[in-house]
Subunit: 313 residues, 6 copies
């Protein structure tokens, strides 16, 4: 499809990131009319001819998640009916990813449902960043490029932070991810395990592994209200940690998360702009690394049929 034009289109969830990508690729964003009717129905109309084009639709399904998801699906439907040659849904942040299995009977598997909705609407491929679990790729029958911001971050970690480093999984579910980073960096590993020793007693955070006088890096894919991170940081400090930093690919920062970070033992929380961070100015503790360069390259390589995995070698 080398000879087919590359086109970029942005939903309303993260315009600054989409514009950044467009600048890097030197391809203007396609005009699109996005609006809500009086009753809240989403509406989209693509403003330019996209017939036979290789179209990338950039939309994080960040909060308000159902509105952003529906907008994405409508854009895909419009593009399909407008005869785009190939539609790639680019979700820097893939919402609902944590609902990827039944943890209780009669639960849905909403991440699979979302995958089905995206495919059914007409996407030919998906590009995303640091999926909550690798198995979500298998929820799709279409190709998925799961870009690893983790890897880029690990490379970029300052020498200072790398000294005496322990990668800490803030809960048991994050261990696999933390273990992989520890292996990459030849760092040690620790895990925070929540337990409730006896009925009626409080939850206790057990630090499994040694952290005394170490530089701790809390590592997870996502921070929502930041409660887990903040409590974990506190427990690490109590166990004698020298410093506590954090990295999460996706920072939802719901409710009073920013204030919590400010008030916490966390030195710096590194994250990306997969979700548009409106509160970035409220604290110096939050450091945002842009995904624009990574996504721009991945889009370009996909368009040119070059190896995307080569970006991580």
């Amino acid at each position: 499809m080398n000879n087919i034009g590359l086109r970029l289109l942005s939903g309303s969830s993260n315009k600054p990131l989409a514009e950044h990508i467009a600048r890097l690729l030197n391809v203007p964003l396609i005009q699109v009319e996005l609006k809500r009717f009086a009753d809240g129905e989403s509406y989209a109309r693509i403003g330019e001819n996209v017939r036979g084009r290789d179209l990338f639709i950039i939309q994080s399904t960040s909060p308000p998640i159902n509105d952003h998801l529906m907008e994405l699906l409508i854009l895909i439907d419009a593009a399909k009916r407008a005869s785009a040659a190939r539609i790639t849904a680019v979700l820097p942040y893939f919402g609902y990813a944590r609902q990827d299995r039944k943890s209780a009977s009669r639960e849905p598997i909403t991440a699979k449902l979302v995958a089905d909705l995206i495919s059914k609407a007409g996407a030919d491929r998906v590009m995303t960043v640091d999926l909550h679990s690798g198995q979500i790729q298998g929820f799709f029958d279409i190709p998925v490029d799961n870009l690893m911001a983790d890897k880029l971050f690990a490379r970029a970690l300052s020498e200072e932070l790398k000294q005496n480093l322990v990668i800490v999984a803030p809960d048991v579910g994050a261990t696999r991810r933390a273990g992989a980073l520890a292996k990459d960096l030849k760092a040690e590993l620790a895990i925070i395990n929540k337990s409730r020793p006896k009925q009626n007693e409080c939850v206790v955070l057990n630090v499994i592994g040694s952290v005394q006088n170490k530089n701790c890096l809390l590592f997870d894919d996502l921070a929502d209200t930041c409660g887990t991170l903040v409590h974990a940081a506190h427990a690490l400090k109590e166990k004698g940690a020298n410093s506590v930093n954090g990295f999460v690919a996706h920072a939802l920062l719901s409710k009073n998360a920013v204030q919590r970070i400010k008030d916490s033992s966390i030195q710096t929380l590194f994250t990306t702009d997969s979700i548009h961070q409106k509160s970035i100015g409220e604290t110096t503790k939050l450091k945002v690394v842009s995904l624009a360069d990574l996504l721009a390259k991945a889009i370009e390589y996909t368009h040119k049929n070059e190896s995307v995995s080569s970006l991580f070698e």
Copy 2:
């Protein structure tokens, strides 16, 4: 499937209607946990065994429409994975129905997208009321029961109102529907046609047909901001109409619609409880006919494999 138990389950969009139906059928609503996470993700868990049951999920996709739609899809997914024998999605109000064709190039056909999403999630059948256009039934490959509140309303119309009656289509798109009612009631028909005689001039409402000294009934499937109805009523009065009433199956009443009705020439606006009417107490001009009886019967007949169309004979 006579021997399989009937079960009712309600989403969060119209609990009062679902409870009303449940009372009429003498079948309790299934327990369900519905919540939103801090970041706005919808979550649903069905609280009782539904294996092999004939399950009806009642959810209008009224505003906030994307949240209500996603909740419906998640409930269907949960029911499917929980091994319900048959899942009927009951949408007293089917949102996005007006987006049922491309009126401009590169538009989506969102009503078809919604139909696909409901099917893909796992619904076996759909029940709804007064669809915006009959063709939407054809968007589904699964059976759809489109109940006609119109017909019930027509039967219930008072003798007084039937005197000297003209059915009025408030715009050209409503003519087919208004014409059918006029035929049923052996009433006359009139149409309001918007036009803009010359560039730079205002839109003019032309009343096509004779309304002088007549009792006018504005008739449409849906009222949103009520602008069209209110202006139409004004035009009818100017043309000498004796009285102006209205009937719409679905009353969204977005923005300041209720105030507009209050201030208008409309005597009474009849509607249904397909959408939960929170502002019902604000004006005596709004009269709500409940769909509970109709839906309860249709659910029972569907469950017992009796003819649903017989409800309208």
Copy 3:
């Protein structure tokens, strides 16, 4: 797909139109063997290599409709198995379009069935002209280009006819279409409404709107036996219309339709060659505008990925 050869193939329903298109595009029609076996089975064999080609199969599903539809499906199946890169089914006339919703219980939705058959056989896209209802586009998951002969006709309408013009919907179902044309032409609108005032009385045609001394243009998508048009013309004349002309995109002219037109108050009935008009010579009242230019351009633009909607701007 710019570099893939454009190929045209014609079924047996409208060879003259296909040949006209081929001449305009300067692309010969692909050889194809079309025959019926002794028992009536249709057979088709494509006579030339179509591997990797961008193939357009031109076939109106005009009467004998089932034979023409089956021939189209067989041609698509043959093309798919012969490895065509892309198959566009071009239906200048899309039969069964009027059966697009259930008007009574236990009816099929045959237009949806036909859409499914065309997709299942293997078509990648559909091109058609003036669909009976826009929602039929939504019956397809594949892209549909619905060309608007209406718009071209409206542009071409003589200045003389435009004077003092009223667009007339010959029945209630045609109002939306007539209203749109009236808006375009800044003409007035009238509607013919059939009613049966009392049981045992005859059907009466009510002309809603003013037509006295006006030039009336009856406007619909399709004329079959022409009964509706002829009666409408009569009613308009009785109401004092100055002249009555008609435009329908598709003229089936079943039974004695041609004779009826000849004997009627209709001055001229304009139509297109979407259906091959064998009886064109029998009356001077029938004027046929060819779709060949429009279809040829739409095929070329589709092949070259240029905007087809630009044809109507």
Copy 4:
């Protein structure tokens, strides 16, 4: 599904057979409105409630094949939308079965296309008789009951005919079928092989195997114009055959086939009423065995979930 009512519905292709089956099962045929519009469009409306019923639609796709096929598809669509619990398409004769593979490049495989159309329309199962090739069962993903009229016929063959019997395949393609019957009856086998010894010479029918003074039974699944059978009979007689009879499950008898049979060396041509035989009275050489009993039992067994293959043990 024992507790769900059995319902029978007939298309227009073979009403006498359907009525015969209905009498045997003591189940009335469901009322259905079948008509053709002026322009040839097929229309069907099911006249009674079929919700949750176990519905069998009886329709041979005999000539006019495309009309009968389309009528079948429309009936299935109507039944699906009318919420039948299970739809079995009963095709006593399955048209287009001979087009079951590509015998030349760029041919369709129409038998597969027909199978897809039947499935896509909404049939849950198929019942048919003596399929041209067993592989056609594999064209379906839904269960197919292929009833063997051959087997019943073989059992019923008179002792007289069984004496000194040779089963003859009238052409090479029929050898497998003839061989199976010969094995069953412990009879001998012969094959008629057409060849054209040299360019420009006539086709010669070679009888492979010995037939002198034998009672020959020409055996095939289908006779169309009967040319093959008649020529084969002639060749067998020339080779000294004592008598020549024939059995074909499906007798299309296109063109002047009946006259040909009358004028031929064939003593009796046995067939079934899979296709309604209007010309049955024209010759005593044609003997029709009714499938009604076999189909009635197969329908009853299918409905009651009893083994259909037990009918042939």
Copy 5:
């Protein structure tokens, strides 16, 4: 489907377990002919009528995995074409489950492929035990019952073993599973983390968490060659563990695994008969808990539409 007979059918992978289940349910196994042709093609023929039956096909996809998987698919296809009402594929061991995501570029996701193959063959539901990852449920669109042998085992754990207990994840990937068990049992948690401190140095097993004088229970879903378990046990002993036991739901015991266990520091390795254990007699260190009771109940509850999750409450 209460009134439809329950039927059991076993593939060749684990006949003893299937027979055990059949005895508990007092339902005989359906006769089935299973064979391999000379060239290795698998063949299956179901020996009894299964029309309209509720059929459970019991087959672990244990080694030789591809043969057992293909046999399962063939049995499902045969059952589908033989008109079974419902087909549940019961896989006590679900092979290929570890290949559930791409751990390197251009890898397949074979667990998803297997899920697709099972669905495509015609299974209506799946029952399995202790899936490697919960997300695999999401690979299916059909309902999956994932029975938790873990939970049953945890309940059955002797009081003695529960004293001073540490649940140990033998590698990082098993942490989530081990953490859940630790929470259930209010036990402590430890993790074995493999690392390679410097290039060219050996892999080191780090025990994260305290195990001195504790009773360690290595806990994972599956043991293959048992290398990981044996090395982990050694490391735990070196760190001063009092005792080391193990539990894995599925014991493949490839290569010389049994000998390795015998020679190891592991006191007892508990497992199930999800895979037929031929080498059970070779060592007293291997203790097999039968799944027959759990599976029999789950099959019965599924058949009777009772809650399967209630088995674990």
Copy 6:
């Protein structure tokens, strides 16, 4: 797709043939890691970027058939997820082809199942050689190129062998194929028919047709244990045949087939390398014609969108 690179990839079933094709096309085989885990699970990883490439995966599903089939499916899944533009599964030998219909009740149709598995895994097209029955093409919805080694062989037959030639179908099922070759070569036709004259008596091979002093060519698509061929040759010799040769496209040569051929009356058995013939050196009676040239051309023509059927004209 002319501008997209052609890529070849080989499974493990017939590396020599794949390498031969690669040499002829001057395109190196893509690196691929193929292995089996300790428990027998197949694993594949494609070693080079295949994004947007036109990929041909060469794999005969020869014995061990289930392993080779699964490997093929896994390779297709990997290629699909690695974003190949088009995946053609090239099966020089298509296993399970003989199971193409139900010859007894409750049998599977495994050839259809295999077709479905290949499509579901993600293949876009299939290329194969001398399918057991042409109808198998119809099992696929994707294009299938069925190359005719028969035709090439027929052309290549020496003049000497063509003298006085009779084509012999070794059993009734092979008659159609043998008849077609006889027609091509203007040779005579004979058939071997197995029968068991009376209960308790042995099977007898009847030679139908005249073979005395003729050069017999036994002709079939496949030889497995060669029992049929060897016995047929013996019967032909007994009937006075001058010489007996054989041609089968696919030689499985299971069990002691090679020895049987050596000991038989067959002069030479011609076959192809569709299956890798390891025992080729064991007898001079086996002559292998390579398919490499035919497959290389067909791959090249497919890639370049040239007519593949032209190879046989």
